[in-house]
Amino acid sequence: MLDILIVDDSAGIRKILQRVIRQAEVPIGNMFEAGDGSQALDMLKTQSVGLILSDINMPNMSGLELLSRIKADEALKHIPVVMVSTEGSQAKVLEAVQLGAAGYVRKPFNAEQIKEKLAAFF
């Protein structure tokens, strides 16, 4: 069972991602939510997760800063982080991959794209 953390400043997107993940035929454990990178880091101090889906443009701490901090932390760097963002330029995708992103889904997304990406982690 994989616990998943969803990081997005839109409550609607967090809700949609939760719904899509629950529909996927993969063994999901708990799902947690954070509204920005800073909240996500706080949550990761007490909560162990196996996968993170994160937006990029968020207040307080961006998804790329979150990714960078996770990959610099010995205790967290094993957690795969998939970026889910409206940022679609090759430069931004490359930046995320260079920082250690395990995947990239561009918004708008459909359920199949998310399910396909999830399947890679089971």
Partner: protein, 186 residues
Amino acid sequence: MTQPNPAELISRADLVEAIVAATNEVFSTMLNLRLTAEEVQTEPNVAAAPSSGVVSLIGMAGAWVGTGSLACTVSLACRLSSQFLATTCDSMSEEVLDTIGEITNMIVGNVKTAIEEKAGPMGLSTPTVIYGRNFQTRSARIHEWTVVPFTCEEERFYIQLSIGPNQDAAQGAVRPGFQVPQLLNI
């Protein structure tokens, strides 16, 4: 060799094409709704949004600077939120405002990606969503608004973009932050 005029790098037709493509993609993928693009308008200063309802604004800044916005009636905002969240939204709420902000984010974000090929990289602000009556949206600078009206569910909404080369960047002094639109009561 003469440098091209930065303002000529992206034509109005490029902007309109990017807006229509991004809006169609967001509505078909995330909302499962069909829409029709209407005749494009240009406004010299004041955006053509309805003076009441919901307006969502997102700033862009980099080699080019500007603002993108979505404006619609409260009833359409509720309908879009219902589709987005697969639930029933009958009246204005935090949920509806969040939905309109995120739809704007996806549309303007994809327009930004499309024009970055010519304009260069830009940052995107988080959306600001305003709900009220009797307001106008003005750009703090002099860029024209490109206004694309759409019809969806028999209601009209507007995607509007005011963008141009960053004069400060051209002079080698990029000013950080985003262009802040002024909202004025009328």
